[in-house]
Symmetry: C2
Subunit: 179 residues, 2 copies
């Protein structure tokens, strides 16, 4: 089975499983939480990918049971999977990030500063991004209460810090144009 060269989801899953063995459900949660700011994937994309990756020999699973009979599949890396992960992280990342922002696009079609739709649009986004910023800051406080926590998951700290800064910029930018 051939897995395409640019299958980024695959590498992200390898990275997540390298941290600790996890179920598909756990992975889906990670895409909502810690890495959701920079990559998204639904469980309907994750489960088939896990099967493909197991077939190609990069991961394996162990069946476990929770409670009386709830079956779980705990996936973990094979040596081949680990090697593939290391190679991916070491590779250059020459592509600038791809953003799809529908709101900003709408702004593009606002021709003058006096357009009556402009201020309500900015207000709406300010509410949204202020909430997101507060949420991310809250997460930083709970996940990284001290330096020890930071040192033990430095990458996680970095991306959370980046996400917070990005949201802060977004809010500041909106406020620059709010009347």
């Amino acid at each position: 089975m051939i897995i395409g060269q640019r299958n980024r989801l695959q590498y992200i899953i390898l990275g997540l499983l390298n941290q600790r063995p996890q179920t598909g459900y756990d992975l889906a949660k990670a895409f909502e939480n810690e890495i959701g700011e920079f990559w998204q994937a639904q469980h309907s994309q994750i489960y088939p990918m896990l099967k493909r990756m197991e077939t190609s020999g990069d991961i394996t699973h162990e069946d476990t049971v929770t409670g009386e009979k709830l079956a779980k599949k705990q996936y973990s890396l094979t040596p081949a999977g680990h090697a593939k992960l290391v190679a991916w992280v070491s590779e250059p990342s020459p592509e600038l990030s791809a953003t799809k922002d529908e709101f900003i696009l709408k702004l593009y079609f606002i021709k003058t500063a006096a357009d009556p739709r402009l201020q309500p649009m900015l207000q709406e986004q300010a509410v949204l991004h202020r909430a997101q910023l507060a949420h991310l800051k809250q997460r930083r406080e709970t996940v990284f209460p001290n330096q020890t926590a930071i040192d033990q998951a430095y990458g996680h700290y970095l991306i959370l810090d980046h996400a917070i800064g990005r949201e802060q910029y977004y809010v500041d930018w909106l406020e620059k144009f709010l009347r």
Copy 2:
């Protein structure tokens, strides 16, 4: 022919054609230049979409010829298309922007600040984002040399300003962790 509810590309094309009648080629350029920071689409996605949109009555085209025989299709909005555009811009945009950033994800899998891969990775990205920042600033200078230019395409100015600020933040953030 049913065009799905969330077909965002369609609305973006409506917005671009509302500015002035354009060819598919022109639209593809716009996705590389002025709006490329916030949405991407290739010509292979654009040409079929233009056909669908014409079939559904939102746009029409006029055949023109450049030079001796180079055929072009100049697309423009119908009243129905214009109405659809106005409705889209006025709608709320409750979804936060979706970003896919492979580099930041790789950082997530760097466990400690001492990892020897970290600094080269940050350096590489700094080169990339500094270049992008310089490019965007250059564009602002040429496209908006004075207040009149800003007033006449305010939305365009806004999104270019946003993109510059975003890149500036990215560079600043990288430099915060560079040794």
